[in-house]
C-alpha cells in the first residue's frame, strides 16, 4: 500500500537515517597475518561499514582479505571477528601512513517502533521532533529552489547518545527522513527530505538538537 498523505487519519511514523563517521587513523592498528601483511585491522563492533573513506575519497570494498591484500585503497569487513581491514597506499599502518581515514555506518531513529529495509529503528524522536520543510525561490528564479528544514530533536533522557556523540562524527553527514504509516511495509514509506546534518546545536541530559542543511550546499 502506497503512502497517501491525504488519507484519513494516518498514524504517521518518521524514520531518520544519519550516516555517522568514526575516525580510524588515530586508532591502534594490528597487522594482518602473512601473506596479507599489507592489510591492517581494528575492532569494528559497529558492524559492516556503509563505506570507508581515506582523505575524503571512497575506498573499494572487497569480499575477502586476500582481495583486499591485492590492491591499495581497499577494505574488507570480517563479520565473524568484527574486524575492519584496510589496505592504504604503501601498505603500511594507517596510523603511520596518515591518511584521514573514516568508516561510516547508519544510525536509524524513529518516532515509534518500526522496521524498514530489514533494519530496526530506535524510537527516540519526540512527537514534535520533526520540523516542517519549506521551499523558497529567489527573485531571480533559475530553475531550482532552496529547501529549508529546521533542526532535529533527539531525546537523550536515557543518556544513550552521550557515548555516540563522543565517539562519532555527526556534523555534515548524510541524512534521510522518510515518512509513512506504521506497520504497512517498506513500500508505504516515502522520502520526505534528503540532506546533510549541520551543527550540533544543543547536547544536554534531555535532548540533542542537530541542525540540517540542504543537500546541494555540500555538493561541488
Amino acid at each position: 500500500m502506497a503512502f497517501d498523505p491525504n488519507g484519513y487519519n494516518p498514524d504517521l511514523v518518521y524514520l531518520l537515517d544519519i550516516e555517522i563517521a568514526r575516525r580510524l587513523d588515530t586508532l591502534a592498528w594490528t597487522q594482518a597475518a602473512a601473506p596479507n601483511t599489507a592489510c591492517w585491522y581494528v575492532s569494528h563492533p559497529e558492524g559492516e561499514p556503509s563505506k570507508v573513506e581515506g582523505d575524503g575519497a571512497a575506498y573499494t570494498q572487497n569480499s575477502s582479505l586476500a582481495s583486499c591484500q591485492a590492491g591499495t585503497r581497499r577494505w574488507f569487513y570480517d563479520a565473524t571477528l568484527e574486524r575492519l581491514y584496510v589496505h592504504i597506499t604503501g601498505g603500511g599502518s594507517p596510523a603511520e601512513g596518515s591518511p584521514y581515514l573514516a568508516s561510516y555506518h547508519w544510525v536509524r531513529l524513529s518516532t515509534d517502533y518500526e522496521t524498514y529495509d530489514g533494519h530496526p529503528y530506535r524510537p527516540c524522536l519526540a512527537r514534535d521532533a520533526i520540523p516542517s520543510v519549506s521551499s523558497q525561490m529567489g527573485l531571480f528564479h533559475e530553475g531550482g529552489c532552496s529547501l529549508s528544514f529546521g533542526s532535529i530533536k533527539i531525546l537523550n533522557g536515557d543518556g544513550y547518545f552521550d557515548t555516540l556523540f563522543d565517539a562519532y562524527i555527526w556534523e555534515a553527514k548524510e541524512a534521510i527522513l522518510r515518512i509513512g504509516e506504521k506497520g504497512k511495509g517498506d513500500a508505504n514509506y516515502a522520502v520526505r527530505w534528503y540532506g546533510w546534518t549541520g551543527d550540533i546545536e544543543e547536547w544536554t541530559d534531555d535532548l540533542v538538537t542537530i541542525s540540517t542543511e540542504d543537500l546541494r550546499t555540500n555538493i561541488s
Binding site: 487519519n9 494516518p10 498514524d11 504517521l12 558492524g47 559492516e48 563479520a79 515509534d112 517502533y113 530489514g118 533494519h119 530496526p120 530506535r122 524510537p123 506504521k182
Partner: protein, 261 residues
C-alpha cells in the same frame, strides 16, 4: 480492633516484580547468537518492542544472564517473544556456566508473547538461562523484548477494585463549524487498582519500590498469582503513590499504571 478490608475474591494475590536482576548494570547478558542490528543489549532496554533476535535457529537457542554474584530469584519472565506453541522451553539456573544438569531446570507454561514462570522455591544462584528449541518457528529466528529475573512483593490482600482504562492519544482538532479533524495514534491501556488497607510493613516495602521505579522505570505486575499468564502486565506509573490514612498504621493505596509501549 478489627480493620475492615475489601479485596477481590480471587484466591491469588497481587504481586509486583520490580527489582530486575537481569537489568542490573553488572549483569552480563549473552545469547546463542545475534542477528545484525538486534544485539543482546536490547533486551535490557526498557522498550519491549526493541528486541534481541537470534541469527537463525539453533538447538537450543538461549538467553543467558550472569548476575556475577548469587541472587535470590522467584520469577523468570520472557516478554514479547516469538517462540511458537511447538517450542520446547526451559528455565534454568545454576552456579556454574554449565547446563548439563543445572540446579533449576523447569519447563515453563508457554503463552503467546510471554513466559511467566515462578520457581517452586526461591533459588539463590548466579547464572540463569532461558533455553528454547523451536525448529519449526515460522520466522526462522527467535526474538524477545524483555527478561525479568528476580523476586516479588505480594500484598496481604488482593486489590479491592480495579478500573481498566482505555487511552487514545490521538491529536484532536475542530474546525470553526465543529467538524472533527484528528491525527490517529496507537491506542493503549491502563489500569487503576485500589487497595483498602495497607499495613505498616507493606507501606515500607511500597516506599522502597517507589524509590526504585518512581515515574521513570517500568516493572511487571501480576494481578492474580494463580493466573500469571493472563493477568501479568509490563507497566509504568502514571501517578504518584499516595497513601491516605484510614487509622494509624493502616492506609489506602491507589496504583495507577499504563502498559509500556
Amino acid at each position: 480492633m478489627t480493620i475492615p478490608v475489601l479485596w477481590h475474591p480471587s484466591a491469588g494475590r497481587f504481586r509486583i516484580l520490580w527489582d530486575n536482576r537481569a537489568d542490573a548494570a553488572t549483569t552480563i547478558p549473552t545469547a546463542s547468537s545475534e542477528a545484525a542490528d538486534y544485539p543482546i543489549e536490547n533486551i535490557q532496554n526498557i522498550w519491549p518492542e526493541y528486541k534481541h533476535r537470534t541469527d537463525g535457529l539453533a538447538v537450543p537457542d538461549w538467553w543467558k544472564f550472569d548476575l556475577v554474584t548469587a541472587q535470590d530469584v522467584d520469577y523468570v519472565l520472557l516478554w514479547k517473544h516469538n517462540i511458537s506453541a511447538g517450542g520446547t522451553n526451559l528455565i534454568q539456573g545454576n552456579a556454574a556456566d554449565a547446563w548439563g544438569a543445572p540446579t533449576v531446570n523447569d519447563t515453563p507454561t508457554w503463552a503467546a508473547d510471554r513466559l511467566v514462570h515462578q520457581l517452586a522455591a526461591t533459588a539463590h544462584l548466579r547464572r540463569w538461562r532461558i533455553a528454547s528449541t523451536d525448529a519449526a518457528n515460522p520466522d526462522g529466528y527467535l526474538e524477545a523484548g524483555r527478561v525479568f529475573i528476580g523476586t516479588y512483593f505480594e500484598f496481604r490482600y488482593s486489590y479491592a477494585r480495579k478500573t481498566p482504562i482505555l487511552y487514545d492519544p490521538s491529536e484532536i482538532q475542530y474546525t470553526q463549524g465543529g467538524q472533527l479533524i484528528s491525527t490517529r495514534r496507537t491506542q493503549f491501556r491502563g489500569m487503576r487498582y485500589e487497595f483498602s488497607a495497607v499495613d505498616a510493613a507493606e507501606f515500607a516495602t511500597l516506599a522502597e519500590i517507589y524509590e526504585a521505579v518512581g515515574m521513570n522505570t517500568p516493572y511487571w505486575i501480576i494481578e492474580d498469582s494463580d493466573s500469571p499468564l493472563t493477568t501479568s502486565y509490563y507497566v509504568q506509573n502514571i501517578s504518584e503513590w499516595r497513601f491516605p490514612e484510614i487509622i494509624h498504621g493502616y492506609n489506602e493505596f491507589m496504583l495507577e499504571v499504563e502498559t509500556v509501549r
